[in-house]
Subunit: 199 residues, 2 copies
């Protein structure tokens, strides 16, 4: 992959996130295309909505008012079928309060363990309207937590096509399955074709 | 109380909520002071925050940009000690997904059943800055749901000083304990003194 590491541009592209785990995953995807992603670790507004697209778009539009930058925000969530989509867009709050143990407790006795992680990336620049990219990975909730890597609910999510949880995988392996990598790949292809080519 | 039912003003005061149960409780409080509250049932923006004051204030400020009205918004949540404050500001989403049964499942085996309901009212008008009023009621999570009145987590919340859950009480009885009635009373006293007197 080394020969792809050409820097296509001098422009600076920021991923607005306080979550270093998320940043690392996105950085890994974009670096394969020769793009260096930068982290802007500031608080941003997230609205309460069951629609990740709406959350990401609102957030990006607010940030563009504050920062004169090309930027990306991402919103993601774990949607568990037997729990009517819970914890969904509120996954990080749920992780901080009831945690992995709380989710496993809620899943006790449930035979349907189907779940999906969804990621929505919103790109915005001072010159362009927001553009949205989505990635989904289907999988199942494990019976107990396994693995120490990743973050959030990674220790209890097993993607289809693997026996490992996300927390048992390296960033590279997780990215071969993950919702976030899919959304960032879709974004990157758009960015190379639509944005960088037009400069 | 009948003699208090004088209409102090011709101005129109709107409570922006889609929740009829909330509206009924607030209406009951304000009508005792002779103020007729009106309902404006429209969607409003709620940000994701652990701070109800921040959520209510942001929401009121957005609404004032859209509507040239005197208005109130309210944000409330159930904070359960043994669950690190969960479900907190996300109570209505949690109610819709895992529901009362989910909360009771998470509370299985917990000896600390302490919880509180908190309500934050934000008043805003085209002429004045947002003003915030808070009400809290302490209580406990019951072992099983009881009662059919109220809404949300009312069937599993027993306020201090009662043996009944909120869902076993009439609006008037619930208001003698409730977080929402306290916040609306505080608002009404301010409104009568600071706003109506100055007209």
């Amino acid at each position: 992959m080394a020969k792809l590491h050409t820097n296509h541009t001098n422009s600076e592209l920021y991923f607005v996130t306080e979550n270093t785990g998320k940043f690392r995953e996105a950085y890994e995807v974009l670096s394969k295309y020769g793009i260096t992603l930068r982290q802007l670790s500031v608080k941003r507004i997230e609205i309460q909505s069951e629609n990740l697209e709406e959350i990401a778009k609102f957030s990006a539009q607010q940030l563009i008012k504050q920062y004169n930058l090309e930027l990306i925000v991402e919103d993601a969530g774990l949607f568990i079928e037997a729990l009517n989509g819970f914890p969904g867009p509120f996954s990080s709050y749920v992780y901080k309060t009831i945690g992995v143990a709380g989710i496993l407790k809620l899943m006790e006795g449930k035979t349907n363990r189907a779940a999906q992680f969804k990621s929505v990336v919103c790109y915005c620049s001072p010159k362009s309207k927001p553009a949205i990219f989505t990635g989904i990975v289907k999988g199942a909730i494990s019976k107990e937590p396994r693995g120490l890597r990743g973050f959030g609910f990674d220790p209890i999510f097993i993607p289809e096509g693997s026996d490992k949880t996300f927390a048992e995988m390296s960033v590279e392996e997780k990215n071969s399955f993950s919702h976030r990598a899919k959304a960032f790949k879709a974004f990157t292809e758009y960015y190379l074709k639509q944005i960088l080519k037009s400069r």
